[in-house]
Structures are given as C-alpha cells and as structure tokens.
C-alpha cells in the first residue's frame, strides 16, 4: 500500500491539494495577447467580408444596369445615355445643318454671338415650315429683330406673313414713338 493512503484522516489531501500558481503573470499576459490577436483577426475578416460583399453588390448592380440599358450608338451618338440629343447640340460649338430641327436651330442661335439674329430668323422659318408652330416662330422672330440691325426691320418680299406683320408693327411702333417724342 502506498504511503499516502495510510495516513488519516484524509489520505488524499497530500496528493490532491491545490498547487500554488506562483508567478503566472507572464503566461497571463502572453495568452491574453495571443487571444486578442485572434479576436482582432476575426474582426478584420468580418470587416473585410462586409466590404467585399458591398463591393460585390455594387459590381453586380453595375453589370445588371449595363445589361439592361439600351446601347443604340446611332441614336445616342455613343455618348452618355443621360444627355439628350438636343442638349448635346446645344453644347456643341458647331454650325447648324439642314438636318437640324427647329429647336436645335433655336439653341444654336441662343449660343451664337456673331450670327444670333440670322440663326433666330432661320429657326423661326423652320418652326413654321416643319411644325406650323406660330408661337415658337413669333418668339424666334422677336429675338431675331431684338438682336438685329435697323435693316432687318425692312420688309422684304421673301418674308412670310408673320415676319412681315411683326416688322410692320415694329416700324409703326417706332414711328409713333418718334411722333410722340
């Protein structure tokens, strides 16, 4: 029989008594540092996964949008789908062509510095010709005369009835003003 079991009253006391933990501060700090590194790594992984999922969602959204947006280059001219044809023309510093619509010509006139009066006349003519839009034509002719010279007020045989009427009214207005003054 082993000596420890011959003692009384409790033979296991000597074998099972707790051991003094003594100095374990180094172990405590070292293990804590290791466990904290694990925690941080897990947090970084979680944050990275979150960022990656956001990025993935954005990429998927962009691909879906690209696939569902029509890309007719002839109609859009290869530019941004959010910019209309009219806006592109208004921004473009070029001369109007015979294919340009009346609103496009009006924008050219608006942007032009040297040929503003002439281009307004053309836009007014085209509003009547293409759309019979008298209100827009009246606006363009008025702008043309406002930006034109004295000579532009002279009625010509090439003028249409609307332009003749506006010029006539302007001349009368001017004469009245002279007589009144």
């Amino acid at each position: 029989m082993h000596e420890f079991f011959s003692r009384e009253p409790d033979p296991l006391e000597a074998l099972l008594r707790p051991h003094s933990p003594a100095e374990n501060e180094t172990l405590r700090l070292a293990v804590y540092a290791q466990s904290r590194r694990l925690l941080r790594r897990r947090r970084w992984i979680r944050q990275f996964a979150y960022a990656a999922s956001l990025l993935l969602s954005f990429a998927v959204g962009a691909v879906v949008m690209r696939m569902t947006t029509p890309t007719d280059s002839g109609e859009r001219g290869g530019g941004s789908p959010l910019i209309s044809q009219t806006d592109q023309r208004a921004d473009a510093p070029r001369s109007p062509t015979s294919d340009d619509s009346a609103p496009a010509r009006e924008w050219f006139a608006f942007d032009s510095e040297n040929r503003r009066s002439e281009l307004y006349f053309q836009a007014g003519d085209q509003y009547i010709k293409d759309q019979n839009d008298l209100q827009s034509a009246l606006r363009c002719y008025t702008n043309a005369l406002d930006n034109g010279t004295e000579q532009d007020l002279t009625i010509s045989s090439d003028d249409n009835w609307l332009l003749m009427a506006i010029k006539d009214a302007r001349q009368k207005e001017r004469n009245n003003a002279k007589q009144g003054g």
Partner: protein
C-alpha cells in the same frame, strides 16, 4: 450576484466580444484566468510546463468557440473549464504516446524525477476518473469547499455527497495505485 444577473451580464459580454470589443474579452479573461489556471495545474498534478501549454490552448480554443458559449447553461468559468477538460484529455493522450518513445533523462536528480513521476501519476489518475467523480474531488480539494456547501449547490443531501466523495476517493486511489 444573482443567477439572472450573472446570465444577463455574461450574455452582454459575449455579445460585445463577438462584435469585436476587446475590453469585454479582457473582462471575461481576467475574471476566469486564475481559477482556470489553478484547475489546469491541479489536473496536471502540479506540472507547470504541461499546465502552461494546456492553459494556452484552452484560452485560444475559448476565443475561437465563444459563439457556442450559452450563459444560461452555466457560467463562463465553468464553460472554459469544460474546454480545459477536453484539452487535458487530448494532452494526456499525446503525452502517453510520446512517453512510449522517449526514455526519461538519465542525468535528472532522483528527487526531481520521483516528484515528476508522482505528478504524472496524479494527473493520469484524475484523467482516468469519470467526470462526476472528478467534479466532486475538484470542489472538495481544489476549491476547498465543505460537504455542506457542495450538497447545497447540487441540491443533494449531505449523506449523498459524502458517499459520492468516498467513492470518488476510492476510484482515484485505485487509478493511482494501478499506475505505480
């Protein structure tokens, strides 16, 4: 602290640790470290090198598996002790395999060698015990609790606890002597 308060507090700390807050982990760690180390050292028969290794592995396992900790099922200290018991089981299995292939150091002083052998036998005998015997011996010898205290916590009679303690002692004695 009331049981409900303890559960609520540990649940909050667990949530904070899982969301990455280090102070919460530090709180849990500092509160449980000494108790866990004393347990591991006791189970290792006082062998400090083995205890250090087991304690380290236990804490790293705990931080990895914290999501599995459920405060309503038991305290954090008890949960970590459960992890330590598993780590100890694996540790002793590895040690047993290692000792088959390694001869003891010839130049070690006899007293040191005997002391180490005794510590290893204690550790092996504790490892061989069923969990409920190990638990009652732990409460009695490691935690220094009285039979009445143990009976109160378990909701058992004094006589039942004394009887279990007696059987646990005998089981330990048998296991220890078999290893001689």
């Amino acid at each position: 602290m009331q049981a409900e308060d303890r559960v609520e507090r540990e649940r909050e700390l667990r949530r904070a640790v899982l969301s990455g807050e280090e102070f919460a982990w530090r709180t849990l760690y500092e509160e449980a470290f000494d108790g866990l180390y004393a347990y591991v050292l006791w189970r290792c028969g006082g062998l400090r090198d083995g205890a250090d290794e087991v304690a380290q592995e236990t804490w790293l396992t705990a931080v990895r598996r914290l999501r599995a900790f459920e405060p309503s099922a038991g305290s954090f200290a008890a949960w970590v002790r459960g992890i330590a018991a598993n780590v100890l089981r694996n540790h002793f299995r590895r040690e047993k395999q290692r000792m088959r292939h390694i001869q003891p150091l010839q130049n070690e002083p006899l007293a040191v060698e005997e002391s180490r052998e005794q510590a290893e036998r204690i550790a092996a005998a504790l490892d061989a015990l069923p969990a409920h015997y190990e638990a009652v011996l732990r409460m009695k010898y490691l935690e220094g609790r009285t039979v009445a205290d143990i009976a109160g916590e378990r909701g058992e009679s004094l006589k039942a606890v004394e009887s279990q303690l007696s059987r646990a002692r005998e089981a330990f004695r048998q296991a220890y002597l078999q290893l001689e």
